[in-house]
């Protein structure tokens, strides 16, 4: 086995400096095939050094462009060149950043704040290698074969959009160490070798696919990108074909950071894969040297396992109770995306400024520009002829709005114990909501039904009055309360707001979904079903269950689990703690919204 410039033994713990340099070299070899890298870390010398290294390794003539945060469609995709059009009196198209970066690299600033819509435009270009424009009366199709460097400065919860991460081979975290200086001086020879590589041995593809499955990676892009990384690694190391070490390296760099679960323990994994992957028969180039003793999937899986981020386990564990935040994060992404589609500006659109919209002067002039000669302007008065159809109005950004819905159990059992205390806690929360300019709503359930006592409002006074006057007594129709909450949450979401539910109950359900006293077992089953429905509605991670029972019951915990909600027993939870929990959840929701918006 030839020694690669950056030496990596399969299964060894990664050295960040050398690894970062290796990623730069691989990406520079095949930026288009690998899609790019999500580079996580604060701006600073480490990042600058890495970018400089990448730039040095790329062919000198390769373009290097930067996408600013909040880039407009016109600049990204291309569109009408306004000065050129005015000058020439005919349509002149302007190339966008994507087309300009063709054959090179596109840097994406603040990728963690990237709007979903922009991410999908980039994804489309990465998929097809071209950028198609149907805008401003133009129809263009330009090549845009490029690698993307998504600069991710996000905090804990912020990540670039999944649609983009899925298409970038490397997810690299820079931890301050500068990239190893041992990076190769030139990649010319390696580039030539990459072009001449023969098709990969079936065993290599099988190993990569099996590893992806073992790590719980669903997308098929992952093994494909890993295969390309392995090919680039082989070329970099001076090999004529992909070998086990290359596949192991690719698994470590490409697959391990995508893992959503830990691979099954050694023995089980071996059996499973032996059965599934059919160990390679007679693939001379696949398993030479030190790896000969093990089957290829084992080597590859071992390498990936060794590189699994140490916090993965903690992450997965932490994700479990707060439902859905783990792998896909569908819980909070759903509503956030929905809201983003409504609230976020998509630039400008044709519209009447008198209808209460704000006029965008530049865009209006841009729309009017090509028509000037036709409209006969410029002749006599040299005035610009702007017609009604040219008007472009701004689409305003609407800040993420949250509606906190209090779902209060006002049944006899709850009233007896501590309805007053619950009211006190709710009042504290109300104050917090007010500080955040949230809207609040109040649903109460008792007797044989649930009632929306206070439709969503910003009025703190009304909310407080409503809460104070809350009558108590009767059975506990928990399922009906949850159903009412679900309906309200769905309405709020449709209107672009993010619902946050605070459920205050003692969990002693005894009224069925039909509103009849049907025994505890039936009532509890109905409540659990309603809880799961609520969670499916996309409320996971946006519900808090405050247990008002003097001694918390197991059922309340089950319900919290069904809801994907934290369970806060009131006796232990002092009101301040409760308030902090709500604020934390709300902050996470807003952060999720930010990442999506």
């Amino acid at each position: 086995m030839t020694t690669a410039p950056p030496k990596v033994a399969p299964g060894a713990a990664p050295e960040t400096g050398a690894e970062a340099a290796l990623v730069a070299a691989l990406l520079a070899l095949d930026p288009v095939g690998l899609g790019g890298v999500a580079l996580r870390g604060p701006p600073g010398p480490a990042r600058e050094a890495w970018l400089a290294l990448l730039r040095r390794l790329l062919p000198r003539e390769a373009p290097w462009r930067r996408v600013p945060p909040g880039v407009a469609d016109g600049r990204l995709l291309g569109g009408l060149d306004l000065p050129g059009t005015l000058q020439a009196g005919r349509r002149i198209a302007e190339r966008g950043l994507l087309a300009e970066a063709d054959g090179g690299v596109l840097l994406l600033a603040m990728a963690e704040r990237l709007p979903a819509a922009t991410a999908l435009r980039l994804a489309a270009a990465l998929d097809t290698g071209e950028v198609r424009v149907e805008r401003d009366g133009l129809a263009l199709c330009q090549p845009a074969r490029l690698g993307l460097v998504a600069l991710d400065e996000g905090l804990e919860e912020e990540r670039p959009p999944v649609a983009l991460l899925d298409r970038l081979a490397f997810h690299l975290t820079l931890d301050g160490a500068p990239p190893d200086a041992a990076a190769p001086a030139s990649l010319r020879a390696a580039r030539a070798r990459l072009r001449r590589l023969p098709p990969p041995a079936p065993a290599v593809i099988e190993a990569l696919c099996a590893t992806a499955v073992a790590l719980g990676i669903a997308s098929l892009r992952a093994p494909l990108l890993a295969l390309r990384a392995a090919q680039a690694a082989a070329a970099l190391a001076g090999r004529r074909a992909v070998e086990a070490a290359d596949a192991a390296l690719a698994a470590r760099l490409v697959l391990a950071p995508r893992a959503t679960r830990l691979p099954a323990p050694e023995e089980a994994a071996e059996e499973e894969e032996a059965a599934e992957a059919r160990p390679p028969e007679a693939t001379p180039e696949a398993a030479p040297g030190e790896a000969a003793a093990q089957t290829l999937p084992d080597v590859v899986l071992a390498a990936a396992r060794a590189a699994l981020p140490p916090e993965l386990l903690a992450h997965l564990a932490a994700a479990a109770p707060v439902a859905g935040a783990g792998a896909g994060g569908e819980g909070r992404k759903g509503p956030a995306r929905q809201a983003a589609r409504r609230g976020r500006p998509v630039g400008t659109r044709a519209g009447d400024p008198r209808a209460g919209f704000r006029l965008s002067l530049v865009e209006t002039l841009r729309a009017a520009a090509p028509w000037q000669r036709l409209r006969g302007a410029g002749g006599a008065g040299a005035r610009i002829a702007v017609r009604r159809e040219d008007f472009r109005v701004l689409r305003l950004r609407r800040p993420a709005e949250t509606t906190t819905v209090f779902v209060v159990d006002a049944s006899g059992s709850a009233a007896l114990h501590r309805l007053a205390e619950a009211k006190g806690a709710a009042e504290l929360l109300l104050a917090a909501c007010y500080a955040r300019r949230d809207r609040v709503a109040l649903i109460s359930f008792r007797g044989s039904g649930a009632e929306l006592l206070l439709p969503p409002t910003r009025s703190l006074v009304r909310a407080r009055r409503c809460l104070a006057a809350l009558p108590g007594g009767g059975g506990t129709p928990l399922a009906l309360g949850l159903e009412a909450a679900r309906a309200l949450a769905a309405t709020e979401r449709r209107q672009g707001r993010t619902p946050l539910l605070v459920l205050l109950t003692d969990g002693r359900a005894n009224i069925s979904r039909e509103g009849r006293a049907a025994g505890r077992a039936q009532a509890e089953a109905d409540a659990l079903a309603a809880g799961r429905a609520l969670r499916r509605e996309g409320c996971a991670g946006a519900v808090l269950l405050v247990d008002m029972a003097p001694r918390p019951q197991a059922f309340a915990r089950d319900l919290a689990e069904a809801l994907g909600a934290p369970h806060l027993p009131l006796p232990a939870a002092d009101p301040a703690l409760l308030s902090a929990a709500v604020q934390r959840t709300a902050a996470r929701l807003v952060a999720g919204h930010g990442a999506a918006a």
């Binding site: 690998l34 349509r91 002149i92 290698g129 149907e134 499955v213 093994p223 494909l224």
Partner: protein, 381 residues
């Protein structure tokens, strides 16, 4: 490896070998004028027949190709499963169509109505015709409304001062397919517009001082990932068939996807040649099915079964029933049968009905399961 390539999994487009050192371009060099149909047709599409698995999606697309009246296909599912690849690959399978020569909407010569131009020309004598590939038009993200519906031809307006209509994507999709990737993220007003035109078969343009109507009959195909956002529920049942697509679970299938993809990227033409025979056979199947579907017998028992199934599921309106029967007929035609059977009905029922169910918050079963359950109850095991 030959060309460094990035494409959607399972296909999409292949690219020429790596570019030689391109001369650095001035940063904002203007691509002069508007190259209308920029050279994108060169690229070899991934062959439809080379897709691995995903039977339901393939069947739905083929059925829509046989009978456009089924009314569009919605493909929703996991990332990287070849949704867009399959739709884009469909273009190569469609048998060419006859069209009026010189007609900008590619009117069907057999269609008495046609566009205004064709009607005027027809009154003066027989129309010349030619053969054209069926259009499969991609609606790119960020497309503006003027390009979708069509607008005043600026070039002609500026150069000659003539007010003339420049057809948009809807006109180009006439008699073919209009594909919207990430349909769930398309702006609401565009989705409304597209669905409206798709349903009426006519595009009405009232803008920039123009008043134009032209035929625009196309099959709407949408795809998306539910994690990015749901489609508005009132739009769901405007699609004839709805397909759920998942990542293949079997390892061997996954390996095969990657292997074919890699082979395709190395040598797109060579790979396509390997599949040319199967592609031709499928094309032939579609053509024959189209010929057969007119005379397809649909026994009363089948109509009854469809009605009972829809009743059991409580689907709203008659659209579900109609689509179900039409899709079953198309599948029967594809399989060379002379009559529709219950087996055909069963195969298409999930796709035809799963997006028409009323949401029952307390029924946890996925809609597919509900359709299957109803089938077991109504049609027997």
């Amino acid at each position: 490896m030959t060309g460094p390539v990035n494409g959607a999994i399972n296909g999409a487009a292949a690219h020429p070998p790596p570019r030689r050192a391109a001369a650095p371009r001035p940063a904002r060099a203007a691509a002069r004028a508007a190259p209308k149909e920029a050279a994108s047709g060169r690229r070899t599409p991934y062959p439809f027949s080379a897709l691995v698995g995903q039977e339901e999606m393939r069947l739905a697309l083929l059925a829509a190709a046989v009978d456009p009246g089924i009314g569009g296909v919605l493909v929703f599912g996991d990332r990287g499963t070849g949704k867009s690849t399959a739709v884009r690959a469909l273009a190569a399978l469609l048998p060419p169509m006859r069209a009026v020569r010189g007609c900008r909407y590619a009117c069907d010569p057999a269609d008495r109505a046609g566009c205004e131009d064709c009607r005027a020309r027809r009154s003066r004598g027989a129309l010349p015709t030619h053969s054209l590939p069926v259009p499969v038009i991609d609606l790119p993200l960020g497309a503006t409304e003027d390009r979708v519906v069509g607008t005043l031809d600026l070039e002609r307006a500026l150069a000659a001062g003539v007010k003339s209509f420049e057809p948009g994507l809807l006109a180009r999709a006439h008699r073919g397919f209009l594909y919207i990737d990430e349909v769930n993220l398309l702006e609401d007003h565009l989705v409304d517009l597209l669905l409206d035109v798709a349903a009426s078969g006519e595009n009405l343009v009232e803008r920039d001082g123009l008043s134009i109507r032209h035929p625009a009959r196309f099959v709407l195909v949408g795809s998306g990932n539910p994690e990015e956002g749901e489609l508005r529920p009132q739009l769901l049942d405007r699609f004839g068939l709805s397909v759920e697509i998942r990542t293949p679970e079997v390892l061997a299938d996954r390996v095969e996807v990657i292997r074919r993809r890699d082979a395709f990227e190395r040598e797109p033409e060579g790979f396509a040649a390997l599949w040319a025979e199967e592609e031709a056979a499928t094309r032939q199947r579609i053509a024959e099915a189209r010929g057969r579907i007119g005379a397809m017998a649909t026994p009363v028992a089948i109509l009854e079964a469809a009605a009972r199934l829809c009743l059991a599921l409580g689907t709203d309106g008659l659209r579900g029933e109609l689509t179900l029967v039409r899709a079953a007929r198309a599948v029967a035609a594809l399989e060379g049968e002379a009559a529709v059977t219950l087996a055909h009905l069963r195969r298409v029922a999930p796709a035809a009905l799963r997006h028409r169910l009323r949401r029952n918050p307390l029924d946890e079963a996925a809609s597919t399961t509900r359709v299957e359950r109803a089938m077991a109850e109504v049609l027997g095991a």
